[in-house]
Point group: C2
Chain length 600, copies 2
Amino acid sequence: MNAITPTITEGPLPASRKIHIAGTRHPDIRVPLREIALHPTADEPPVRVYDSSGPYTDPDVRTEIEEGLPRLRETWIAGRGDVEPYEGRVVRPEDNGFTSGAKLTPEFPNLKQPYRAKPGQAVTQLAYARAGIVTPEMEFVAIRENLGRQQLKEQRARDGESWGAALPDHVTPEFVRDEIARGRAVLPANINHPESEPMIIGRNFLVKINANIGNSAVTSSMAEEVEKMVWAIRWGADTVMDLSTGRNIHNIREWIIRNSPVPIGTVPIYQALEKVNGIAEDLSWEVFRDTLIEQAEQGVDYFTIHAGVRLPYVPLTAERTTGIVSRGGSIMAKWCLHHHKESFLYEHFEEICDICRSYDVAFSLGDGLRPGSIADANDAAQFAELETLGELTRIAWKKDCQVMVEGPGHVPMHKIKENMDKQLATCGEAPFYTLGPLTTDIAPGYDHITSGIGAAMIGWFGTAMLCYVTPKEHLGLPDRDDVKTGVITYKIAAHAADLAKGHPAARMRDDALSRARFEFRWEDQFNLSLDPDTARAFHDETLPKEAHKVAHFCSMCGPKFCSMRISHDIRDEARRDGMERMAEKYRQSGDLYMPVDPAE
Amino acid sequence: MNAITPTITEGPLPASRKIHIAGTRHPDIRVPLREIALHPTADEPPVRVYDSSGPYTDPDVRTEIEEGLPRLRETWIAGRGDVEPYEGRVVRPEDNGFTSGAKLTPEFPNLKQPYRAKPGQAVTQLAYARAGIVTPEMEFVAIRENLGRQQLKEQRARDGESWGAALPDHVTPEFVRDEIARGRAVLPANINHPESEPMIIGRNFLVKINANIGNSAVTSSMAEEVEKMVWAIRWGADTVMDLSTGRNIHNIREWIIRNSPVPIGTVPIYQALEKVNGIAEDLSWEVFRDTLIEQAEQGVDYFTIHAGVRLPYVPLTAERTTGIVSRGGSIMAKWCLHHHKESFLYEHFEEICDICRSYDVAFSLGDGLRPGSIADANDAAQFAELETLGELTRIAWKKDCQVMVEGPGHVPMHKIKENMDKQLATCGEAPFYTLGPLTTDIAPGYDHITSGIGAAMIGWFGTAMLCYVTPKEHLGLPDRDDVKTGVITYKIAAHAADLAKGHPAARMRDDALSRARFEFRWEDQFNLSLDPDTARAFHDETLPKEAHKVAHFCSMCGPKFCSMRISHDIRDEARRDGMERMAEKYRQSGDLYMPVDPAE
């Protein structure tokens, strides 16, 4: 065997340790959180943050890539009594693009039999939720989402504009169940991916982000892709999509899933196209169906299905500036047009649902006609497809399948909210999952930023998950650095959205960091930031000495001009003169303009 | 003399040439624009873009840093007959922080006598505008802003939400005069900075960006700062603020102004503080007044004056999470509290106006009490100061002085619009000039992004100029790379805002780039982008060969999965089948969901 164990980035983030919280209904669940310790002078408890990084940041766990992660959900899945192990589909040469010999990525060495639903059973979290069952997965995400809220409840009035979302003060397992039952949230949890730590995607939960990885025909390998996954979740990716399109798709995906603590999404049409040698016209329902089963057995948690690209919509793209820019969308459009037939994805959608409900693969209904330029935003093709995605959402729900809906793309700021409003209305509040959107086309090389602007805004308006865009977008395949930049940018967008929506606990980290900044606790400032390594490195470029880590200034202004330092002097001085008394006096005298606090 | 001529980045951007357009009323004016040539297969005229880079990108001009730029406005200024040259103030040791010997930055070698207004004259663009005079400066900016609009008028309906702005279809010199006369726009043009190419800042013009440079007590030098200025305008900075706080402030500033084709802003209190050895309590009106005259004679185009930090407001900051974070604000707060006296800036504001009107230095009324954290956004201290800035705006206008008003800072998304709305109402539509705002505090090292989100939004809502934030914000002094990243990020924010406001010509560049992208004109895609060097480098990382510059794919998807390539196949196929006819048929059949175009 010519396996090369990939080099994986492991170890905790600075000043951080992983803690686990047990469930109440299900005492065996262990929900991971990250605790960031502060300097003793802070006189504050450690700050707890959401932790998507899995066992790789836990020094108590020894991970072995060739073994895969512990199968923590397996007893829950098997315990429900509605699944059965079986032989599974035999891997065929076309699954790896007919690769052989040294070019073949080795098979993952620790394969298990797959599970499937027993005949007639729906094994989806949606089916359980509708039946009134609070699964361990649901309690897990309740604890995970709930982070810090109880502590905060006494402290602060709600401050935000949630645009009609219904954020609870405290997330209960019952609330999670109810949101899933209503279709307003998705808990991606394929029964064949028992290694995953449950997470939830919905408008009334924290905004999530997805990172895309995957090799292409041009570049990359299994070892790189596994490390990209581990690297992406280290910095905060909540789900990862494997968009591989070259050779070895089957085997690379197996290595990724077996080692991923986050849900894995795919676009099955990519692999199906490889199986017919890249000729879109040769695609068929049979090849596609076979691919769905192959991937469901491996444990893919959600499928992007471009069933909304219908034959009559294709001509609507004729006058577009950039045509069809979704890969899946363009493949299906080509098929439809060539055969002059309705899409087989659309026509067989109920059968696709039957497969998904047997493994609990969630839908991510692809927006194959999303705009690829500012010029094409919010056009007839895009909104025609959205209407169909609403229709498909209702079919999937009827079949007990979990659904989210993909959104654009390239949209100028003034047209973003319309996208959110239409999606909510058309798709019955099924979670929206958008790619950016990019707010201008003129900055290739910086599209993490052009899209981070749109992502923050649409996240605020109600998008449940934001698909990252890296600096390489439109130009090439992202490398490890690009993945990190994309993830951090999207964590910023998601967090800015949580703050603006008024998520009860969102501001705790901002406030802790701001206090550290004001008190010149430089180490705390670095450790509380999304990327401690970069913050520290930037600071140390000009002030590298350890003594500077407690200095009451930085190189930006130097000591004399540090406003925060002066602010402290002012406070000290004012304490002698009784600044609070002065403030009170001014308030009473009415000598002062005192606007109404908008938060009141 | 130990002068070291700085190394300056010169030469045109890729595929670009500088063109000049003459005036009609003033035939001697030459307005620079950049023309980006496209590949012959595009069959499109070159794309004209706004060009702030000055003569440094013009191969026909030989720039000599030790000589300074040509004094292109001098004949206009002198020709108005209301100014006189005079001896000027003598440079004193404290102007350069008592530096001497080898540590003293050499004096700029080509000094001229300064001008001032003749007794009783107001030599501001506002005074001229009110008198009904269209100055050459005004015609210059009309041509500069107007770029591409006439050509476009026939082509496209207005598409945007301008939030009450009054964007004209075509910018005339008379419109410019009227906007300045109403105080709704500022044309910074110190009579002692005749080297500057006129530009305008106002809600009904293109959104502008400012880049901060300047040495600190800890690091940097004259040569670096001059190059930072040239580098910042190369990438699109519309104005530059010299925020130097260390030694050699006077001499470094002279080198910068003499070589700057864009307006230069300063915060005079920084230099005043150096003159009193960094002891805020020792500041006085006399030292400050002397500094204003010193800088006005050098040619500073706008002054940040923190006259809104009044004694009664200081106690309002007592309970803040991050106190006072504006350097100027904290200095003045300290002075007020120490002496328990009203601010000398506030009390002498009319005298400050008298100085400014004698040189046409515009005001940038500083927001010394801006929030320094999400926790402090939109609080009583901030809005109390804003009320005073409105009062000062009216005083300045009464004195024929041009005014803009500075804004925050750190503001979560849901509180951004309130800032804009209050500023418009309180300050009579004087241009708003904001620092970001940052939409979260948790990402030091990425604050160009946290703030780029807020900047794009507030720019859309009506902010006229966005002050950039670099990745080093809160951590250290930005270097050359940081300056570029900050400028490009803010060009993105400003352009996204222009698009969303519906600026008539803004979308031309997006559309040209999108067409290039769709047609695989890789070189055109690079050349049309804000940063051609980075776009090209990213592409070439995986596909370096020249042949790939015309390839119908990139390494992101590879040839088989390139949606744009497939889109072309679809079009080709459809042309045979008459896709347009098909589209028409579907439209007529009503078989299809056809949403109303929101732009209609």
